[in-house]
Symmetry: C2
Subunit: 484 residues, 2 copies
Amino acid sequence: MKVHGLPVKRQKWSSDFGEWFRDILINAEIMDYRYPIKGSGVWMPYGFKIRKNVLQIIRDLLDNSGHSETLFPLLIPETSLAQESAHVKSFEGECFWVTHGGYDPLKVRYALRPTSETVIAPMLKLWIRSHADLPKKLYQVVNVFRYETKATRPIIRMREVEPFKEAHTCHTSAEEAEQQVNEAIKLYKQFFDDIGIPYVVSRRPDWDKFAGALYTIAFDLLCPDGRALQIGTVHNLGQNFAKAFGITYETMDGSQEYIWTTSYGISGRGIAAVLIAHGDDNGIVLPPKIAPTQVAIVPVPYKGKEEEVNQACADVATKLKEANYRVELDMRGDLTPGNKFYYWELRGVPIRIEIGPRDLANGVVTIVRRDSLKKQTWKMDDVVCAVKRFAEEITRDLRTNAAAWMKERVYRVNSLGEAKTLLKRRAGIVEVAWCGKEDCGHSLEEAVEARLLGFPEDTTEKVDGKCLVCGESANNIVRLAQAY
Amino acid sequence: MKVHGLPVKRQKWSSDFGEWFRDILINAEIMDYRYPIKGSGVWMPYGFKIRKNVLQIIRDLLDNSGHSETLFPLLIPETSLAQESAHVKSFEGECFWVTHGGYDPLKVRYALRPTSETVIAPMLKLWIRSHADLPKKLYQVVNVFRYETKATRPIIRMREVEPFKEAHTCHTSAEEAEQQVNEAIKLYKQFFDDIGIPYVVSRRPDWDKFAGALYTIAFDLLCPDGRALQIGTVHNLGQNFAKAFGITYETMDGSQEYIWTTSYGISGRGIAAVLIAHGDDNGIVLPPKIAPTQVAIVPVPYKGKEEEVNQACADVATKLKEANYRVELDMRGDLTPGNKFYYWELRGVPIRIEIGPRDLANGVVTIVRRDSLKKQTWKMDDVVCAVKRFAEEITRDLRTNAAAWMKERVYRVNSLGEAKTLLKRRAGIVEVAWCGKEDCGHSLEEAVEARLLGFPEDTTEKVDGKCLVCGESANNIVRLAQAY
């Protein structure tokens, strides 16, 4: 149950952030990564609850914006995967392949879905007849599989990626597909804002877009080690998949037209992001909305006062439960109050309430915020109001602090040397001017030894600069970072 | 959108029950079975909602009885699967095998989980140290895979079985494991009772138990075609998996002891059962608790009265939503009221409310029960009370009628000839006396050309009979049926 001794200041995490993350997952009982297959993990009971609460936010956002949840098969016949040429080229080397059923070799081998465009397309072809069937907005929450050759990391780079929330939409026009991309970006912003995760939104360069897409827009979080983590992507697929699978609809005037499609996804990284953006030396820190336990109540008994203290704790627990908070009353007899504090801090429970004999005598409770670890005493009668207020403050402060931390680490520079130095020491995200030519982009990545995240989609700012590679005048900013 | 013309009386379904079931799944937009891989289906939006509501009942039952939800990997290294000898022998010919990652052959091939005992065992070995870690009660809702060589059927016999709710528990003694089996049976009874599904509970004969179990207890539903459908199983695994995987715990007195385990599962058949047990010629019939839409409100407008009628419908919808009912106000302009009635009946919506000008004039609504199709008028002011009452009545009547139908089809007979005749015409479940010897059991199955479901576990009744095969005196009843 040891949490590795990291300095509390987040900017000092970089040296052993990876170790912190691996340890916290098992110590806080989120994911056990010791399964005999590399890149597969087990969502443990506590982690499963966090996962469920995070997914519920996404589900609510999608359900309330006209998306319908569905569930499509896992297996893809190789013949389907191969129908969109750019898609298969990118994915065939990354798929796990099923070749046998029992003792029989299969006639056509099956890929474990790496993503579901080619699973859904043959069904869309059956379902879509006319403009009246459009738009269609579907999503599913599933596992997907990538035969990663890079080093795997729990949640962040898995071979069995679980969960993967993928939405797939169909439209009658390019404009409508474009609007859907914008809606998806808006929904994802709401989701990340809701759990306090900061991000930059960038249009990926052409060579880094999703295979089969017209373009890809991605959300990146800066991790404490100065590396960018892609936490969500939105793809405009144009008519590529529609043409590959022959998905047409009858227009108002009776002609047949290919549909336009989009897809967008958030994986388990959306859960990892919460742990990464808010965690500290003592463990994870959960925004109240997704915390399986929002309030932990710990009696601090004193000889002869056990009964009164325990009763007061039980009363407070009852009050908070009646007010619909998720409460744990920690009456374990084999742990000291100190052990219990440690236990709940590690697990990121946003609010802890302690009641000891002195609190009891004064008619107060001691409330401790997990994010700041600050203690305050409150009148016992006002405990529900206090919890409401603290929950709001924690939600706000987690978001504000994480955003401020990340914002400080976005640098605008004018020279390759400066960019390279910042990126080499993983200072954060570096913005430079770029002419937009693919050659210069590749040269840029090579020169600074980092990844091009793409053009900002979250600002319309133009610069009056020069491309750092070819020297031509450049209006566009482009972002670079070391990336996971 | 055509529902095949079946006679309304359920006992006459047998000839085309299979066709009815296939058609209803796609017509009511539950599952689309036309995916390019045989035995894989797509849960469509409406079906997904039914699936979710059914699963929620199971989840609540398990969560409230000390089970924790988790999520384990899909892939099983062949070396793990092979650790329990009876288990691998039964499953290796039924597994889908992953042999390649990208272009590389895997060193050890992976099975797609056919069930998760051998996935969970290596983790239990890591998690369980002492008696303080026990009991442990975990479950997950996942997809499992069986390379079925029999004809596949939507939901009922899939190659990708989805969902599969599987629980896995660990205990310190044989008695505790036995108690857990009893708890599981109790929970499953509650689940099936809750959605009105009748069943018999039987201890499977030894040759038909789960591979690796001491014994298996199964729930069977009788389908309208007279065949038994296994809808849930509970296995006492004894110490078989513990010994195979070396899972021990330290007892109170410091010695090491193997744990005892159980597992129990309900698949998508738990959802199919609702459709099968309650459906009729007009479509499916859903118990209110799991109906995605509990009340459909259809205006029956009359020229010049459209506005008032629509307003009255909207008011009733608001009232019912405020009372937390799931309501659809069907204002579609391109469908006649008759089309709408048909639409909601097909989808099994338990209560339909119609409001026409005459209802309006009388201050009443017309309420139609989906199960009986009976109409009644009620004061508009009392509509919430009426819906509450009808929902309760429908829940009760669905259960009562389905149970009565099945009970009538359980026959107790004294001769092989009689048994054979009943089973040949798929009259239902046949109970006979059996000495209990395996040889006689096999002979019995052969003689009557049916499957031995096993000994009743839902009655302690003993008979004073003779085994129909060897003629020896027999106190035990055994059940036989044509089975899916």
